[in-house]
């Protein structure tokens, strides 16, 4: 975010940047929050195209734009609809930050103040005006609800036509479920546990037909599941290329942000050393990661319980899923006045202030993490094969044992996917959650990044770049040490005939 502002708006200078630049910067930031959900949706949709359809298309000489128009676009349409809902949720989450932002310190303060609901909420939050913040939030929820009814619901119904199905799936509850939950379920079905879909649809067609098609379809579907193996199958040139791209981006960043503003990289590093030591950078990273771990643990605990309850009860699903749909779009910054009133102001002169600020930070990170886990778990639990459920009922496996031995292993791949997405959301939320205000912040990478923006321009660019590098390195280490290993383990927890 600060890099975009550095490049598009320039640093400080006292005079506000042209409104066009402000708009461009804001749109780029919304784009970064939106882009990845549809991208992964489209990849999932493309991966789900059955091999026989691809072979038939190639046999009929369909290539290029014709293949794209007649095979790829219809195939990705359902994925695109649900992932677009998630993308818009991500966009809404950040609008108060994108429409009302100050950069630099007086007298070189750059103020980005764009007219919008986000600005209304952000200004109310800054002034601790709870009533106005809540009013802005109500308007926002109204807009989200109207878009859901007028755009996503009709598109969701239309998307049903574009699903590849060899058999008619039971649709008794499909229209009553939210688009997001239905979309996540489709995502689970296609990317994480497509085998489950096959088993689930068994009821609706003759067993003979299934016996004929099962082996061939299972082979295709299990191939799609093996994405951890696909990672290891990346050829050497591919790995080298990815490292080259990463190093290139780092160098580009160095040139754009540091070299252009100070004499050399060495002088940038020595400038950084005047304000922060390497040990301090590691320490604040550790603090931020600790907060993320706590928020993740809390999110996993409640979403696992709630996800299982929602997936097992239609009544709860109808009641809670629309509420969660709206909840995932509520910006963290809209909760600032509430956090200040409940956790900051009453403890201003109390030794408990440090604890309550950390608690506030963890709660705000939680708002950016929990929904990914919840929707993934709901999708996975919904996809447990009926024959397995019948078998567990016959063997009287119930209660805690049923959850521990059936539901958690069944949703393990989905929990992993949700966890990776949740950590991504958590890193996003970290920047707004560690720095609520000048007198209400906790030490961490997010607050270091925010505070860097108000320093001397040369120091600010070096500190912003250093914190982004540390953040990227931390994410890469966590990916390599945790998620990749767990993804390989997830291969054990799939249903196979």
């Amino acid at each position: 975010m600060p890099v975009v502002f550095l490049i598009i708006l320039g640093t400080g200078g006292g005079t506000p940047p042209p409104e066009f630049n402000q708009e461009v910067a804001s749109i780029i930031l919304i784009f970064t929050a939106m882009a990845w959900a549809p991208t992964f949706g489209v990849i999932a949709g493309i991966n789900a195209i059955p091999t026989d359809i691809k072979e038939a298309a190639h046999a009929y000489g369909m290539h290029g734009t014709r293949y794209l128009r007649q095979i790829v676009l219809p195939a990705v349409f359902p994925e695109l609809v649900w992932s677009s809902i998630l993308a818009w949720g991500g966009g809404w989450y950040l609008i108060p930050v994108e429409e009302h932002l100050s950069f630099g310190s007086a007298p070189n303060l750059t103020q980005v103040d764009l007219p919008g609901i986000g600005k209304y909420i952000a200004v109310a939050a800054v002034n601790a005006d709870l009533a106005s913040a809540l009013f802005g939030l109500i308007v926002l929820v109204g807009i989200i609800f109207a878009i859901d009814r007028l755009v996503w619901k009709p598109l969701g119904v239309r998307a049903e036509k574009y699903k590849y199905e060899t058999i008619a799936a039971p649709r008794t509850t499909a229209t009553r479920q939210s688009n997001v939950a239905a979309g996540v379920k489709r995502y689970e079905d296609r990317l994480v546990s497509p085998v489950l879909t096959f088993f689930k649809s068994e009821r609706s067609y003759a067993a003979r037909v299934l016996e004929i098609t099962r082996l061939r379809r299972l082979r295709q579907l299990t191939e799609r599941l093996r994405f951890p193996e696909r990672i290891t199958r990346i050829p050497l040139w591919g790995r080298l290329l990815s490292y080259a791209i990463f190093v290139g981006l780092v160098l580009l960043g160095l040139i754009v942000t540091i070299v252009s503003r100070s004499q050399s990289i060495a002088s940038g590093v020595s400038l950084l050393a005047t304000d922060v030591t390497g040990f301090e950078l590691v320490a604040i990273t550790f603090l931020s990661v600790s907060r993320l771990v706590i928020a993740y643990a809390v999110a996993l605990s409640w979403t696992l319980g709630a996800g299982i309850l929602i997936a097992r009860s239609q009544r709860l699903s109808r009641l809670l899923v629309p509420i969660f749909d709206i909840g995932q779009s509520i910006p963290a910054t809209a909760l600032f006045p509430l956090v200040v009133i409940l956790l900051v102001d009453p403890f201003k002169n109390s030794p408990l202030l440090g604890f309550t600020l950390n608690l506030a930070s963890v709660l705000l990170i939680l708002t950016g993490m929990q929904w990914y886990l919840l929707f993934n778990i709901v999708g996975a639990v919904n996809s447990v094969p009926n024959d397995l459920l019948e078998a567990t009922a016959a063997y009287r496996i119930r209660g805690g044992r049923f959850v521990k031995e059936i539901l958690i292993p069944a949703s393990f791949p989905a929990i992993l996917i949700g966890s990776i997405q949740a950590w991504g959301g958590g890193w996003n939320a970290l920047i707004v959650s560690e720095y609520i205000g000048p007198n209400a912040n906790v030490p961490g990478l997010g607050s270091f990044l925010v505070q860097a923006t108000s320093k001397d321009p040369a120091l600010a660019t070096v500190e912003i770049y250093a914190s982004l590098l540390v953040m990227t390195a931390t994410v890469l280490i966590i990916n390599r040490l945790v998620w990749r290993r767990l993804l390989r383990k997830a291969d054990r927890y799939k249903f196979e005939a």
């Binding site: 708009e23 939106m34 949706g41 489209v42 695109l80 677009s84 009533a131 009641l319």
Partner: protein, 77 residues
């Protein structure tokens, strides 16, 4: 669900009336930005729609070559 929704609307309406009578909404009505809310909504929606159009274009441009070249698909994962 509908009954609960109706109850929620009634409760929120009653709370809003109570807040209005007791002056809790004074800050909202005296907020100089409040009359601009419809315009703000329009501007935010426009911004979101433009960003979404770019996100959609990016998603299709980045992902669709994967359908043609399997090596790119592996690389993207």
């Amino acid at each position: 669900m509908r009954i609960l929704g109706g109850i929620a609307i009634v409760v929120v309406s009653l709370l809003a009336i109570d807040a209005y009578i007791n002056g809790a909404l004074d800050t909202v009505t005296s907020n100089t930005l409040t009359p601009s809310i419809p315009y703000f909504a329009f501007r935010t929606l426009t911004r979101m729609t433009i960003a979404y159009a770019f996100a959609l274009a990016f998603a299709l441009t980045y992902s669709c070559p994967c359908s043609t070249y399997s090596s790119q698909s592996q690389f993207s994962v």
